[in-house]
């Protein structure tokens, strides 16, 4: 079990009386790109957000690279260094320039000197094609551009794993591609990624593995070829048919 980078063991989560996740057990390996699919309310975002303790699990265990996910401050600090997160709503800091958004965490957490942090941040911005916008404020950018900056910002802390929580759901259709291209490039570089998404075509193309959540449980765990092309479950086929239109 310890061979896995992330282990989730019999995890339960309630929101009030609503049982969001039911005895979920799964794992994620280094270098693997996993896509988590499922209908709204199936618990996929909650599962992702529990990995870096933005949500707490009510029972069960989560271990990330040997770090127990709990409320202990030392664990939390170590955990959040390991995991980078990209949000549906980008969540860029509106009062900071693009460059400061990316360089803030290295300067504060790793105590990197401003000049070094800025240099590295510019490299990351170049990687997501945003270096020309480094001195702009987030409000002046399109959604797709903001999300690319958010990806650079998460990468700035050199995480081992990148978590994507519906990274394209808040974007206009014409901007989805530029963000997906950046994520695709990242996947090709060997980054371990867990992506919650509604983009079926993207999941199929980029993921090594599809997790399908249904009513708080992992209903399927399959390679994309099997999941999309040899799907036996009527329910999942209906889901796929529904969302591909």
């Amino acid at each position: 079990m310890s061979a896995h980078l992330i282990t989730v063991d019999k995890v339960n989560k309630f929101f009030g009386t609503h049982h969001v996740l039911r005895d979920v057990s799964t794992y994620f390996n280094a270098g693997q790109v996993s896509a988590i699919l499922g209908a709204s309310g199936s618990g996929k975002s909650t599962l992702l957000r529990m990995l870096n303790r933005l949500e707490r699990h009510d029972s069960g265990r989560i271990v990330v690279d040997g770090i127990e996910v709990d409320d202990e401050l030392k664990h939390l600090d170590a955990l959040r260094r390991e995991l980078g997160m990209v949000f549906q709503q980008f969540n860029l800091f509106p009062h900071l320039t693009v460059l400061d958004n990316v360089s803030l965490a290295p300067r504060r957490v790793r105590k990197t000197l401003r000049a070094d942090a800025n240099e590295r941040s510019m490299e990351l911005l170049k990687r997501v094609g945003m270096e020309e916008h480094a001195h702009k404020y987030p409000f002046a950018l399109s959604g797709g551009q903001q999300q690319r900056v958010a990806i650079a910002r998460a990468l700035a802390m050199n995480p081992k794993v990148m978590l994507f929580d519906e990274p394209t759901s808040a974007l206009d259709p014409e901007m989805v591609k530029e963000v997906l291209d950046v994520i695709k490039k990242l996947a090709q570089s060997g980054m371990t990624m867990i992506i919650v998404t509604h983009e079926m075509g993207f999941a199929r193309e980029v993921a090594d593995r599809i997790l399908f959540l249904d009513q708080g449980q992992v209903a399927q765990d399959a390679p994309p070829e099997v999941f999309f092309d040899a799907q036996e479950s009527v329910r999942v086929r209906a889901f796929l048919g529904q969302v591909s239109h």
Partner: protein, 262 residues
């Protein structure tokens, strides 16, 4: 009222304009405090012969406002943090403080600090100026707390999640992410409170602090000329609040990265 200056050079950035305004207004304020006796001395009696007296009163008023205003912001931040804290005791203490300070007259608070506090705690025997500062600071702090709290609540939860997920400690999350955004929202009501403070500092008159209103009142009582003295007093207040709103307006523009202000 907003005074429109002739305009800064076109190529100056928003920050440069803002810094220039702050610097200029601060210089004006210092010059005013330093040299205001000179133009006042040119006025006819009873102003001209009391120009130095007016200038001293104005200095005391500004000192009261600056000391109480800055402490009031610190107190306000602490009380707002207490009000939004997860710890019940802190929430309770902060709420009690705000409830008492907002629910009782400032004049009573000033008298209390000066007269009643020493009988309670002999070590807290303060002179009139210090008593006024303490009472004003805690009073404005309570109003500031609510302004800052509304700012803190206006910062979306996603901002804090993003900061925490980047590994920022709760301290840096507050310093770098929450507070700057909250402060921007809280700034207009904070300015309101500080302008009110400048004027409320006149209540220090009740415990014998020789500030501007006290000076004006003494002169009108001695000369039997209330009209010119009180008009002069009021005008000095007006000039002070004008300079103050120029500075705060510049601070607001500095934070306005989206260019939402015309």
């Amino acid at each position: 009222m907003k005074i429109t200056l002739p305009g800064w050079p076109q190529r100056w950035s928003r920050e440069q304009r803002s810094s220039a305004t702050i610097a200029l207004a601060s210089v004006v304020l210092v010059l005013l405090l330093w040299l205001m006796a000179i133009p006042l001395a040119l006025a006819p009696e009873p102003i001209g012969n009391n120009a130095q007296y007016f200038a001293e009163g104005t200095r005391i008023t500004v000192e009261l406002t600056v000391v109480a205003g800055l402490s009031g912001i610190v107190i306000g931040v602490l009380a707002a943090l207490g009000r939004t804290s997860g710890i019940t005791l802190l929430r309770w203490v902060a709420s009690l403080y705000i409830w008492v300070m907002r629910g009782t007259p400032l004049l009573v608070q000033i008298l209390f600090v000066f007269l009643a506090l020493p009988t309670l705690v002999p070590a807290l025997r303060l002179d009139d100026f210090a008593s006024a500062c303490v009472a004003l600071a805690f009073n404005v702090g309570a109003y500031n707390a609510e302004a800052i709290r509304s700012g803190l609540l206006a910062v979306p939860k996603g901002q804090i999640e993003a900061a925490r997920s980047l590994g920022l400690s709760s301290f840096y999350t507050f310093i770098d992410v929450t507070f700057p955004q909250a402060f921007k929202v809280a700034l207009p009501p904070l300015v309101n409170n500080t302008v009110a403070l400048l004027k409320d500092s006149s209540l220090a008159y009740a415990i014998g602090v020789v500030e501007l209103t006290n000076v004006g009142n003494r002169i009108q009582a001695a000369t039997f000329q209330p009209l010119p003295t009180l008009i002069t007093t009021a005008l000095v207040y007006l000039v002070l609040t004008t300079v103050m709103t120029q500075i705060s307006g510049a601070v607001e523009r500095r934070y306005d990265v989206e260019g939402r202000q015309p």
